[in-house]
């Protein structure tokens, strides 16, 4: 029993656990919007893009959080703009923007390891959580909750049906930008604990599992947030005992939850989450009998 409670006597673990719970809840909440908008790949790319700013900020002599935040927001808005305009393939544009930024970050982090963020930020570290990280995470979570509460309706409408939402008076580009800003801030604040390469999984998996369990958008928000928080806590605990990066244990915990839910609910829930559920009465699949 003492072995189980032992880590709580260390301040670094309590800080790490607090950060993991907040990061998991934040990613779970945000992931619902991201996955339903079909933006999972953007979340993945953006986390890589932010790493460039994260590494470049010390070189430029500016605050790391500020530098990475501005870099990430600029990348997010660029990606959002490319996706909306569809001038070139969105996946190709995201690939170019984010991998170039990531490569720059790796180069800078490697060559300036005494000043830069270090490669721990690729996979997250239980040891890396500072008080400032907790404050940034708390602020990000607060911002996300406030934004998703007061802008719930236009965000939901523009996620479900952007064309009709625009006709009805919703400023869809502004909603896209708002979501991107929250996403950038959230990824930035979770980099330390989850890491660049794994943050996309914490965005996607709780939301997908929640979607497998419910048909209600409201319940999906609560479920994904709770699943993210619990997976964060369990993952952090495992990270301490197994002595492996916290990002990997958090993602593996999420993945385990996914497998359990899939096993319990069967393939039907997965098809539902993927939008492939059986729909015998689906009008869209019926052949038209109109001749002319």
């Amino acid at each position: 029993m003492s072995a189980l409670l032992d880590p709580f006597s260390y301040e670094f673990f309590v800080k790490g656990l607090s950060a993991a719970v907040m990061a998991g809840a934040l990613c779970g909440l945000l992931g619902v919007w991201i996955t339903l908008r079909g933006m999972s790949y953007i979340g993945h790319g953006l986390s890589h893009a932010i790493f460039g700013g994260y590494a470049a900020a010390p070189l430029l002599g500016i605050n790391v959080a500020l530098g990475a935040g501005v870099w990430g927001l600029a990348s997010a808005l660029a990606i959002s703009s490319v996706v909306r305009r569809r001038r070139i393939g969105a996946d190709a544009a995201i690939g170019v923007i984010t991998t170039a930024s990531f490569a720059l970050g790796v180069a800078l982090a490697t060559s300036l390891s005494n000043k830069g963020p270090g490669l721990d930020s690729l996979f997250g570290s239980i040891l890396g959580v500072e008080r400032s990280d907790l404050l940034l995470l708390g602020l990000s979570l607060l911002v996300a909750v406030v934004v998703f509460t007061v802008r719930y309706r236009p965000l939901l409408f523009s996620t479900f049906d952007p064309e009709v939402a625009a006709v009805t008076g919703v400023n869809v580009p502004r909603m896209d930008a708002l979501l991107m800003a929250v996403l950038s801030l959230s990824i930035l604040s979770t980099l330390t604990i989850i890491g660049v390469t794994l943050v996309a999984a914490t965005l996607v998996i709780p939301a997908v599992v929640a979607r497998m369990l419910t048909d209600s958008f409201g319940r999906m928000l609560w479920l994904a947030t709770a699943l993210g928080a619990v997976s964060g806590a369990v993952g952090m605990y495992l990270s301490y005992h197994l002595e492996i990066p916290s990002g990997t244990t958090i993602v593996l915990t999420n993945a385990a939850v996914f497998v359990v839910v899939l096993a319990v609910t069967g393939g039907r829930s997965l098809r539902k989450a993927a939008g492939l559920d059986d729909h015998p009465e689906d009008a869209g699949t019926r052949p038209s009998l109109a001749r002319a």
């Binding site: 339903l36 509460t149 007061v150 719930y152 309706r153 236009p154 939901l156 409408f157 479900f160 049906d161 064309e163 009709v164 939402a165 625009a166 006709v167 009805t168 008076g169 919703v170 979607r211 419910t214 048909d215 209600s216 958008f217 999906m220 539902k272 989450a273 993927a274 939008g275 492939l276 559920d277 729909h279 009465e281 689906d282 009008a283 869209g284 699949t285 019926r286 052949p287 038209s288 009998l289 109109a290 001749r291 002319a292």
Partner: protein, 251 residues
């Protein structure tokens, strides 16, 4: 009274001309079908009426305070999205309100719109579990909950079966008789267009405008669709048949 007028409107998508010199008026008694093949400019015309696109030349004038309801094509919707019928209709009610949950007044308005469309008992059902006709009714309810004077619909019978097509047609007729102006696009000449009181044939420009008897005629159809078609008559309605089918006996 005129709700929207297009005055010599030209619209380009980039360098591509889509609509040329279109003049058309939508009045408060309109029940109009815009017919034409894919690429004829039907969707662009709808967007100009909605105000989501601006004309390259010419002028679009809307009556002050005009509220427009819009119903998109069913095929454009993500039917796996986790919302119920009630939540879907509520989205359009008030987008500026800062609280996420519905007020009692909003719930009453949504319930009234669903009851008017005959799907009140389906309010708590997931949108994926509706039939084609029920899906169309839900989107019309979402448009009506904003109390519009004009309803615009994009291909309301595209990809639906015969019974759903009849259901939608009768529903629109009822709404029009209740005082709602309606303009819809359709490529379904026999099942939809022939039953509407007014048609506009579009092929980058207005080829013809008037009642079905004036628009569903071989010359207009050939100019609009680029293929020779013959027109028969059945129970007082024009019926379009492919001229090649008549020659080969495949009617």
């Amino acid at each position: 009274m005129t709700l929207i007028s297009l005055d010599h409107v030209t619209f380009r998508y980039g360098d591509l001309p889509v609509l040329r010199d279109v003049t058309h008026t939508v009045d408060e008694h309109a029940f109009t079908g815009v017919v034409g093949p894919s690429g004829s400019g039907k969707t662009s015309l709808l967007r100009l009426l909605l105000g989501t696109e601006k004309p390259s030349h010419g002028q679009v004038t809307r009556r002050t305070g005009l509220e427009i309801g819009y119903v998109p094509q069913l095929q454009t919707v993500d039917w796996s999205f986790p919302v119920t019928v009630q939540e879907c209709v509520l989205m359009a009610r008030t987008t500026r309100r800062l609280i996420p949950w519905a007020t009692p007044e909003e719930r009453r308005d949504v319930a009234a719109a669903l009851d008017r469309l005959g799907i009140g008992e389906l309010a708590g059902r997931h949108i994926r579990k509706l039939s084609g006709g029920q899906q169309q009714r839900m989107f019309i309810a979402r448009a009506l909950v904003r109390k519009p004077q004009l309803l615009l619909m994009d291909e309301p019978t595209s990809g639906v079966d015969i019974s759903t097509r009849h259901e939608v047609l009768h529903l629109l007729d009822e709404l029009h008789r209740d005082g709602l102006a309606i303009l819809l696009t359709t490529h379904d000449l026999n099942g939809m267009a022939a039953h509407l009181p007014h048609l506009v044939a579009l092929q980058g420009r207005v080829v013809a405008s008037g009642p079905p008897a004036q628009v569903i005629v071989p010359d207009v159809l050939e100019e609009t669709f680029g293929a020779r078609m013959d027109v028969l008559e059945h129970l007082g309605f024009p019926v379009v048949v492919d001229a090649a089918d008549l020659r080969t006996g495949v009617a």
